[in-house]
Amino acid sequence: MKKILVMLIVVGLLVVTLGTSCKQKEEGTIKIGAIFAVTGGASFLGAPEARTAEMVVEEINAGGGIDGRMIELIIKDSAANPEKAISFVKQLIEEDQVLAIIGPSTSGETMQIKDIAESYKVPLVAAAAAEAIVDPVASYVFKTPQKDSYVAKWIFSTMQSMGIKRIGIVAANTGFGNAGKGQLEKYAPDFGIEIAIAETYDRAATDLTALLTKLKAKNVDAVVNWSIVPAQSIVPKNMKQLGMDVPLFQSHGFGNTKYIEAAGAAAEGIIFPAGRLLVAEKLPDGNPQKETLVAYKKAYESKYGEDVSTFGGHAYDAIMLVVEAIKNADTVDREGVRNALESISGFPGTGGIFTFSPTDHNGLGMDSLEMLTVRNGEFDFLQ
């Protein structure tokens, strides 16, 4: 019996081995790999990212591809598991022989595969936020979301102009939340702002009144919440319930109309820095990003029937940057694409105007963000 059993292993693996070899290989297509957390705990990020990437590739292929060559996008769903991201990135590099990889969605996964991309010399354009992804600069690793430090600085400079001195910070216990909390703590002294209390909470927390009571007792002038869903709609609701009337600042993770809807009337007056995607239509006509933003927004919303989010925008930037690099590359190989990526300059994306350099693989400046607020249930400029 055991012999048969072991035979089964052989048979099973043979099937898999042969099965993968039966795949049709199309000559001339450009393969781009993507790792997104489409399901699992970070699906708020990964799902719109994957949808965006699919949509963009469809559009490009419908328009004749890149110089007549079609793009083949291979999306892998890591469910935000680093070990899966590691397995997938090796698969994409070696087996699928992709030209470049976009994603992953979370900082934790990106940090785990950063060195792999670097040592196998495959361009990786991450849609995750942590600064450690591009610091130290790995020559093959890029990222599209704005730096957390910019967000922190924007929040603090706005606070300064509002005369806020003493703040409380709450952050979700995710890579995103922890990194943000770190940046806030790092830059607060530069702006003369005192952090009375900084706490993290579970990302799936559903009631934060106890935590906010702790903050309320510290008599803070303002609260900063750094999280992705669901907490960014719970914090404003809980604050109003507790009768906390101090201003609430949020991170750029608030960038989705759905969250205003979920927080309802409590969302009014929330202040947060974000890319211009959320206020695309409200931008003045001369803005260099406006065309890109409105086009993406319209395309996404009509195709999927849901509001755009800045997260999807990060994937849009990632794939568009790679496409732009392929167009500009002297030779269409990994080395060529990397070099072309690094020399991209003044490229309008959803996150801002990208200008990469050998020392800057994020390519965005402070001006990539805009202070926004919620007015009458809509995102609007703060000023």
Binding site: T200, T206, D207, T209, L211, V229, P230, A263
Partner: protein, 296 residues
């Protein structure tokens, strides 16, 4: 800590505790009828909120909630008749594994039926920004709804199990299902009813807390774990004690936040659970004599 603050922590604890209690009551009903723990209980809460939200787009809140409760309890009944009843080997291990499997399936299915977005039902009274002042502490009117529904539920459950024929029959099943069968009680339909009932209660809970906590496809697992802790704390099978244990756990968690970093909140509750399990597995409100007759 000022008096207002202490009161505020108490309210926070009671709010969270009532949510746990909803899940734990569901556990107890099924446990009483079948002796198994249904790990998919948290998913019923999620389904209730999701379905009610979808209907509330087209109709007023009350009929949407009623529909959600009915549909979810139908799903509960369906799960029993399709999966649980057909289990070949009725072992505890098998039941744990199969209900975990069902919970995964319900979760994944709702990811495809709806999506990964969060949803929140409208507030029953007032809105997101209204709050009620009680002795200096302030709470959302929705918290009062949660408390009210919990209290009504406990009373109704008590009356149902004590005075209605069906309720008595269900209790008989849990005492001794063979004897109940001999007395002419249809144990199969009692088990089915218990699944429908607990799914319905879970769904109702999901609707009442949705404005506060929001509803999301993956919320069930955490609730299931917390509800299980509460059910054991109170003593498996005892619905009233589950409510008390739920509120107790909510209070402990809420006050632990005032001293410890919130990141370790769950560690506190689980350590308490482990201690209770080892010292008094019958639960803090369970009787020691009764527990010595049971097999832990």
């Amino acid at each position: 800590m000022s008096a207002e603050q202490i009161l505020q922590y108490i309210f926070a604890g009671i709010t969270v505790g009532s949510i746990y209690a909803f899940v734990a009551i569901g556990y107890n009903i099924i446990y009483n009828a079948t002796g198994i723990i249904n790990f998919a209980q948290g998913e019923f809460v999620m389904l209730g909120g999701m379905i009610a939200y979808t209907f509330s787009q087209y109709m007023p809140l009350l009929p949407a909630i009623i529909l959600a409760v009915i549909i979810t309890s139908a799903i509960g009944g369906l799960i029993e008749s399709v999966f649980i009843r057909r289990m070949k080997k009725n072992s505890v291990l098998g039941m744990i594994v199969v209900t975990i499997g069902i919970s995964i399936l319900l979760r994944e299915a709702s990811l495809y039926v709806w999506d990964e977005q969060i949803r929140a039902l409208r507030f029953f009274t007032g809105s997101e920004i209204s709050s009620v002042n009680i002795f200096g502490a302030r709470i959302s009117p929705q918290v009062l709804w949660v408390l009210g529904v919990t209290i009504v539920l406990v009373i109704v459950m008590f009356l149902f199990f004590k005075f209605t024929l069906t309720g008595q029959a269900m209790r008989a099943c849990s005492e001794n299902s063979r004897a109940a069968k001999l007395c002419g009680i249809r144990t199969d339909s009692m088990v089915n009813l218990s699944f429908m009932l607990s799914a319905g209660i879970g769904a109702l809970g999901g609707c009442v807390v949705s404005p506060l906590t929001q509803t999301h496809y993956a919320m069930g697992t955490d609730l299931a774990i917390k509800g299980f802790i509460v059910a054991i704390l109170g003593g498996l099978g005892n619905a009233t004690a589950a409510v008390a244990a739920g509120i107790l756990l909510g209070l402990i968690e809420s006050f632990s936040i005032s001293i410890l970093p919130m990141a370790y909140k769950d560690v506190v509750s689980i350590v308490i659970l482990l201690v209770i399990l080892l010292v008094k597995p019958s639960g803090i409100f369970g009787s020691v004599q009764a527990s010595s007759m049971k097999d832990y």
